[in-house]
Symmetry: C2
């Protein structure tokens, strides 16, 4: 049986990735990060989704003693894009420097420690092409790091870095989520942290688009 | 003036890297990690060395909720190699999965956030060739990640990943440390955390060799 470490933020993408890995029969350990993000609402969602999938969730606490993105801490206004086109035309201000690299490196460490063959991440390059660390070429570079920088890699068995949604758009992800039985109502995409999603941030707009089109 | 983020463990290698960067006139922010290592004696050394260099030190707290190396936590016996040859012939049991990747990714994030042009790491490939993430090819792979996975990288200005000691042996490092005025007495290499270095672990043996040969 394959073992995987799944990066789970509690959003629809990472939740779908988890259910995708489960549908392959893989035993999954979920990792979520408490890294000073604007709100921890998403950690509650991650816990609920992991429970639904029958998987263990571990929360990595990471205290980065500097600020630098509107997703860190409570400071700074969230962007309110006027259109989806606007989202795609820029590197979003919600970009967090090297975030996926940090998450992947910690997941890689975990995978090697517990003997997992794969790291699964819910990144997708279609709607969020603005994030440099969501592009296929970036993941290929990280695969090289995994191969050259770990004991498993040296022995020819690096953990595979798998981004099953990488080339899907939001509508395709929503359809896949439905097919896999993802508890979509438990997921949380919104960058703000209120009781209800704000409906205005990048993540809300993309989520809405996904549901409309699917 | 160039700005650098320097990974500072408090050992002689990272301390020498810091003084090397200072000797270039770079403004340095030092990062140390409180990641559940066996002892935090080295953090005290890092603070003392940073102070001596006139640089700020920030401590990143990282709680990885799993164990997996004798450098994590207090469990497990430290290796007592019978010779330096033995050290070089294996991947040491002090290997921590993907540790440099974790450290570099966090330093990369910090560098992009504060606008630093470089990340400096004290790795060396000669005496510690057993660590996969101390090899030149590994660092080249990580440079690719920095170029492809960050906003600065996309704009053609990724933080440079600099390992000034990479091709030096311990004796050369000790000589460089002396030339640069590194406060060697403040540094701490030993993997154990008593009042005095144990004199028996990999790090102690290599340090002793360096001083003898220099």
């Amino acid at each position: 049986m394959k073992k995987a470490v799944v990066l789970l933020s509690g959003g629809i993408d990472s939740s779908t990735s988890l259910f995708w890995a489960r549908s392959k029969g893989w035993k999954c350990l979920c990792l979520a990060f408490d890294y000073g993000q604007r709100h921890i609402r998403e950690l509650r969602s991650a816990a609920a989704v992991a429970r639904k999938a029958g998987c263990q969730l571990k929360i990595v606490k990471l205290n980065l003693p500097w600020k630098g993105s509107s997703l860190f801490g409570g400071s700074g206004r969230l962007p309110r894009p006027s259109s989806l086109k606007e989202i795609r035309s820029r590197i979003p201000s919600t970009y967090v420097p090297a975030r996926n690299t940090i998450f992947l490196s910690i997941a890689l460490s975990c995978a090697e420690t517990i003997g997992a063959n794969a790291v699964v991440i819910g990144a997708n390059a279609v709607d969020f092409s603005g994030y440099p660390d969501c592009r296929p070429s970036y993941f290929n570079a990280f695969r090289l790091v995994a191969r050259l920088g770990t004991k498993c890699g040296i022995k020819g068995r690096p953990a595979a870095i798998i981004a099953p949604l990488l080339k899907m758009n939001k509508a395709q992800i929503v359809r896949l989520a439905e097919r896999l039985g993802v508890p979509v109502d438990l997921t949380w995409s919104c960058y703000a942290g209120g009781k209800k999603p704000c409906g205005k941030c990048d993540a809300c707009l993309l989520r809405e688009k996904g549901f409309k089109e699917s």
